[in-house]
């Protein structure tokens, strides 16, 4: 929004401001950002530069390609595109190759040493193969885009399925997951609960009737001992708290009766 007035340089390359896009860029400026973002990395950008000039990978003019590569890099920076470190690594590598090609070398050493471009060519070629493979893969007829699974509901779903088996470990694993998730939500407090109370709550509820009152004492079984009595009492209190049952005492010290609410 502040750019329109000054026409700032698009890029600075080697300190030189560029107010025009490189000649060989046929992209309108507003599309440039999108265009630059489409590169999948330095190898992709290099392949683009090479293909655009219909060059053979084996014939890369390293100096020229390096210059163009640097221009794009400068543009990307100018556009404040997030520049992956790999782009800079490639820039350094290109510079190194260029310098090694320029430096005169004694014939003896040259014979042993690989052409400095060889590794770059190898990688470009390898990447190009997989770019083609990706395009071929994309062209395969695939489900949900080109063809669709054909299905028809059975007229009547049979309920004759054999129910799948479950073991306790699976059940625990499920519980573990749901509790871990609940912890993440943080809204729910999962407390350590004494199971026997919960179980006793179910048992008490089952025994009780909504219409008839049951004597409170009938809920207790002396043979369960003190623990049993305490557990039952806790269960009753908890049920009371949750408004699931009703306690009635006609007068002080009269027998207490219980019934289910509702």
């Amino acid at each position: 929004m502040d750019a329109a007035t000054e026409t700032p340089p698009l890029a600075k390359v080697g300190g030189e401001p560029y107010t025009q896009l490189p000649r060989d860029l046929y992209i309108p400026p507003d599309a440039l950002e999108v265009f630059l973002e489409t590169f999948e990395g330095p190898l992709d950008l290099l392949l683009y530069l090479i293909r655009r000039q219909s060059l053979n990978i084996l014939d890369i003019p390293v100096a020229e390609i390096t210059r163009q590569y640097m221009e794009y890099l400068a543009l990307m920076r100018e556009m404040r595109l997030e520049l992956a470190a790999e782009y800079l690594v490639m820039a350094a590598w290109l510079a190194e190759i260029k310098s090694r090609l320029l430096l005169p070398r004694p014939a003896a050493i040259e014979a042993e040493e690989e052409d400095p471009r060889a590794e770059l060519v190898r990688r470009l070629q390898e990447y190009e193969r997989f770019q083609q493979a990706a395009r071929a893969l994309d062209a395969l007829p695939r489900l949900e885009r080109d063809c669709f699974p054909a299905s028809a509901e059975p007229a009547q779903r049979e309920t004759r399925r054999a129910p799948p088996p479950v073991n306790l470990a699976e059940l625990l694993a499920a519980l573990r997951e749901v509790l871990a998730r609940a912890e993440l939500f943080g809204r729910h407090h999962i407390r350590r609960e004494t199971l026997s109370v919960r179980e006793r709550m179910s048992q008490v509820l089952e025994r009780l009737d909504a219409l008839r009152f049951t004597p409170f004492s009938a809920l207790f079984r002396p043979e369960e001992g003190r623990m049993g009595v305490v557990v039952t009492l806790l269960a009753v209190l908890e049920l009371l708290r949750e408004a699931l049952l009703e306690l009635v005492q006609a007068e002080p010290f009269a027998p207490i009766h219980v019934r289910r609410r509702g």
Partner: protein
């Protein structure tokens, strides 16, 4: 362009559920859209083609549907039987929550799971005889309270709920799970292969 009949067939098979005539016709660009009468005729032809086949065209409340006719139920049923290998995670989580927090309402399960519990799951658990309604919570809507059954305990070889591994922090449960696996508690008699119910 493919035959109208085949296009309608393709649409119904791709969707696998009923489609109204309007929705079928809406898939044609306006300029090429067939008349309703033509579409009806094509559907009638399709229905005639299917006589004796593994598929039939029916008209139900929500439109036209291709379905596998009743006559094939025995084969399809045997296929399903073989397929139902395990319960969904949602079902197991629901069961675990009922076991540990009973009596509990569906809403309370949903509050912990963070997602709604499908009626199908509650139905499956009840059909399997593992849970039952033991009352209602006296709050608006009187939601049903669920608890596990004796059949549930039997299935998992438990004498009482107190034999369930204690409900501890999720981290401890990892250890318990490992322990259980070590002890190889496999309560189910036919847990290895879903045996085909030998009838006849």
């Amino acid at each position: 362009m493919p035959e109208l009949k085949s296009i309608l067939e393709a649409l119904l098979l791709a969707v696998g559920e009923p489609l109204t005539l309007d929705r079928l016709l809406a898939t044609f660009p306006e300029a090429e859209r067939p008349e309703r009468e033509a579409a009806r005729t094509a559907l009638a032809e399709l229905a005639a083609d299917y006589v004796g086949r593994g598929v039939e065209l029916v008209e139900v409340a929500s439109g036209f549907r291709l379905q596998v006719p009743q006559a094939f139920a025995p084969w399809v049923a045997r296929l399903w039987e073989e397929r139902t290998a395990s319960y969904s995670r949602a079902l197991l989580e629901t069961l675990a929550l009922i076991a540990y927090r009973q009596p509990v309402t569906r809403g309370e399960i949903e509050a912990v799971r963070g997602v709604s519990v499908s009626s199908g799951i509650m139905k499956t658990l009840q059909e399997r005889g593992w849970i039952k309604v033991i009352g209602h919570r006296e709050v608006p809507g009187r939601p049903a309270l669920y608890a596990t059954t004796r059949a549930f305990l039997d299935y998992f070889n438990l004498k009482s709920l107190s034999e369930l591994p204690p409900l501890a922090t999720p981290r401890d449960l990892d250890a318990i799970g490992a322990e259980l696996e070590r002890r190889a508690v496999v309560p189910d008699e036919n847990s290895t292969t879903p045996t085909e119910s030998a009838d006849g």
